[in-house]
Symmetry: C2
Subunit: 485 residues, 2 copies
């Protein structure tokens, strides 16, 4: 395929994508396929001779689409949103075309510099303390990670290195392995599984801090475990606070936790993967109060800020902490400017070496929506979430299981877990909308997340009527067959 | 921006990308900018109100392009190639449009299933042993990682978990921290820095195995360090063999190393980040002989197989080893089919949780080039590399520093390191072509890598004439000012 054919096919693909997104509502949100569906549909091995674009193109509808879960359907209410917008798609096309691999400043200066400035823009939008910004010669700054999981891991590793160095300087008799064996990280019992995974990778202990009845960790709960662990000779070194937990979008109490972490010399990382985008709205910014105590902060524009995956924004107060944990400098990656102090080599800030020109997506989206346009997007989702909450509250058979702060509603039928599992099954089997569940303590709960950029009030109404009807059908037979709690 | 405007702008962007790539030769391959160039060119913070596409679009040439290193210019000979092709760009547009996040089978079945089958296709193309393929119900299989660095890290972590479990079952008196303190990983002194970094992250010791005069690790060298370390009470658990080292594209001797690793119960991972793509050509497949002894194998189609970054292909013989190292199952990520044994949840195979629909790029590229088309791409690069080698060999002032096996030539002026540093500086200051250096033992060496998809014989000739002229200019003044070695 040469450039001339690419011009033609590229335009066809633009139309295909536009058609797909314009008419996505008509597609069944969750596919009918069973595991293993795809293999029999395609060849056993790659063709020896080239196939035409037409051949490949027609297989999209035949082979791929039947197995796609349509994340951007307005009937998709599962997980958390995956962001998507036209400006981000355009930027990604440009990113692919330029095709640079920006692991160091010299590998493509624009790639590094736009990222630094975009993270400053975004940091200002959520009103981060100055210390987190790169500015002209700040100690801090931002970086785009591929995912919140990586941001948490990077923060934990930086904290681990920093703590080991500190302990070794105070107690030179301890080996690194001995110190490692005593390190302990903490997170809420509501924290995302990626925090436990980061500890697993980093080979350090991790403990759950019990959340309170609002599913938030408060200062006294952290204090209690810290005191016990210190008494037992352990070395607390890292706390991951969650703003907007995955199960129910609860918020850890930063203003209580931050000062404790600072006093105890514990790295505080804030994981606001989903909720962070809402902090661009002044009325939600208070949820971030206490960030001034944190060492690192992360949220995912690829969740709720209309920037397509992957784009997870992370800031640190001291970039030297990250770089210090990872810096290795083979000659083929060294370049003229690197010792000038002016230059950021992002490969020291992340797990992979290579990196795409992802800041283009932020640049396009922030400019073409403007701050107001993005605030309006958040506002709309919050309105729809209030609408759904209201509908649930009007139906006495149901209960709301956690305070609705942003775009997630946790709800269930008053009744047993089995009943709610059956309700979820009937919802997902009908495939008119798609939800996933969670556990809140011992309760099986349905999560309804406002996801699609194009979801409107009518979809919410439809979803509720549908759920409510399925509940009615279910309850009719349930009483006869099951003993209720 | 609505779908109608996206149709219009998307087509403009397709043309912009086509123009960029068609005329890339005319752009200066390495930019003129100094660190910090970009910040003064753009606003201090994001605009409140939306800007138009035109405004953003015109800033691409004004602000971005002046700071881009043009990786796809036929005058770019630095690092290793970053793959790019039109079919891959088309697939990436589709990937963005679908915008699913395929962390589990249910999150988008097509995303998982196409990946499994594409990795089987690719595995067959390089003639991997059956055990590495997923097939219908194999124990092994492939996964797309973001980068070779992540593949190495994942392999090391899986090996770490496996070894700790084994040792604990044999010696229950040892704590995990005690075992960790005795684990040791190995790689060539020529291995990529990502291997050392993986060990740093995984908190295990790593030792360099001395390579021989061809920059390859042979069996006896590994045997020697293993014996010493075992005698000292350490537990060798992981060896990363490199096929195609970053500095000079040398090859570790798999057929000697593999049996040792198997006998000593050491996980052997093969990092063939760059060279792996060449194994699709029968005449280079022998370089992979010995892969049958490995536990995991990785190469980067995003380097040399025309699939845009990111697409790093990794295979394991026992998928349970990877999954066993990472599996954590919160309810919101569980789904109906996961215990059926038929289903792959790729989030257990990688560091991030989220993942894009990257297998579409492989599917488009493998079908639209066909195996023969991809072989022709490799062949062309090898022809050009032989051409450059030939030109160097004809000039008595120069020497070739390592055997030229694939598309990388390591060369230098016969003379001091300072002389060669000066030559590289004059090459990169002229900015007509772009190279990076490396060290081979104590020698400073210039690396000339065949990179661009569109590089032709004329560019190679031009590059050599240019280098040769700069050398002449340099040598004229050098004798007067410097004492030669
Ligand atoms: C609170 C929280 N943290 C982390 C993650 C993981 O995000 P990622 O896929 O970017 O790793 C999620 C995903 O939903 C989340 O809700
Ligand atoms: C041998 C080798 N391994 C690993 C890497 C790192 O690749 P990635 O950027 O995919 O992590 C490279 C990069 O050039 C390499 O040459």
């Amino acid at each position: 395929m040469d450039a001339a054919e690419f011009r033609k096919r590229g335009k066809e693909m633009v139309d295909y994508v536009a058609d797909y997104l314009e008419k996505i509502e008509k597609r069944q949100v969750f596919p009918d396929v069973e595991p293993g569906y795809l293999r029999p549909l395609i060849a056993d091995c790659a063709p020896q001779d080239p196939e035409s674009f037409e051949d490949v193109f027609k297989d999209i509808e035949k082979i791929i689409m039947p197995g796609v879960t349509h994340w951007h359907s307005p009937y998709f209410f599962a997980y958390f949103p995956a962001a998507s917008s036209f400006p981000a798609l355009l930027a990604d096309m440009l990113c692919g075309g330029i095709g640079c691999v920006g692991f160091s400043w010299a590998a493509s200066p624009a790639c590094t510099e736009l990222e630094t400035v975009m993270l400053d823009w975004l940091g200002k939008m959520v009103n981060l303390p100055e210390e987190f910004l790169a500015g002209k010669d700040g100690q801090g700054g931002g970086v785009i990670q591929g995912s919140a999981s990586e941001a948490t891991l990077i923060a934990l590793l930086a904290a681990r290195t920093k703590t080991i160095r500190q302990v070794q300087s105070e107690k030179p008799e301890l080996t690194e392995a001995e110190i490692m064996g005593r390190l302990v990280a903490y997170a809420s019992d509501q924290a995302h599984s990626s925090v436990e995974r980061a500890a697993l990778i980093g080979a350090v202990k991790i403990k759950s801090v019990p959340s309170d009845e609002t599913f938030s960790v408060c200062g006294s709960a952290l204090k209690k475990v810290l005191d016990e662990d210190k008494a037992a000779g352990l070395i607390p070194f890292f706390f991951c606070a969650t703003l907007g937990t995955t199960s129910c979008c609860s918020f850890d109490k930063l203003l209580e936790l931050g000062p404790i972490c600072n006093k105890e010399n514990i790295w505080m990382h804030i994981d606001a993967a989903y909720a962070g985008s809402a902090f661009i709205c002044p009325e939600f910014r208070h949820l971030l109060n206490g960030v001034e105590f944190a060492d690192s902060f992360n949220f995912n524009p690829h969740k709720w800020l209309l920037v397509n995956f992957d784009c997870s924004a992370m800031w640190v107060k001291k970039r030297s902490d990250l770089i210090g944990a990872f810096k290795l400098e083979p000659l083929y990656l060294q370049h003229h400017h690197q010792e000038s102090g002016l230059v950021t080599d992002y490969r020291h800030w992340q797990i992979p070496l290579g990196r795409r020109f992802r800041s283009l997506k932020l640049w396009f989206v922030l400019r073409m929506y403007g701050v107001k346009g993005l605030q309006e997007h958040i506002h709309k989702h919050i309105r729809l979430s209030r609408q759904f909450e209201h509908l649930v509250l009007q139906d006495e058979r149901f209960e709301i299981c956690a305070e609705v702060v942003l775009g997630l509603i946790c709800f269930r039928l008053k009744g047993s877990n089995e009943l709610n599992e059956a309700l979820l099954k009937s919802i997902n089997d009908a495939k008119k909308i798609h939800l996933v569940p969670c556990h809140l303590r011992e309760k099986f709960v349905l999560r309804f997340a406002i996801c699609s950029r194009t979801v409107e009030s009518t979809h919410i109404k439809f979803a509720w009527q549908h759920i409510s009807q399925l509940a009615t059908d279910l309850l009719k037979t349930w009483g006869q067959n099951h003993h209720q709690q």
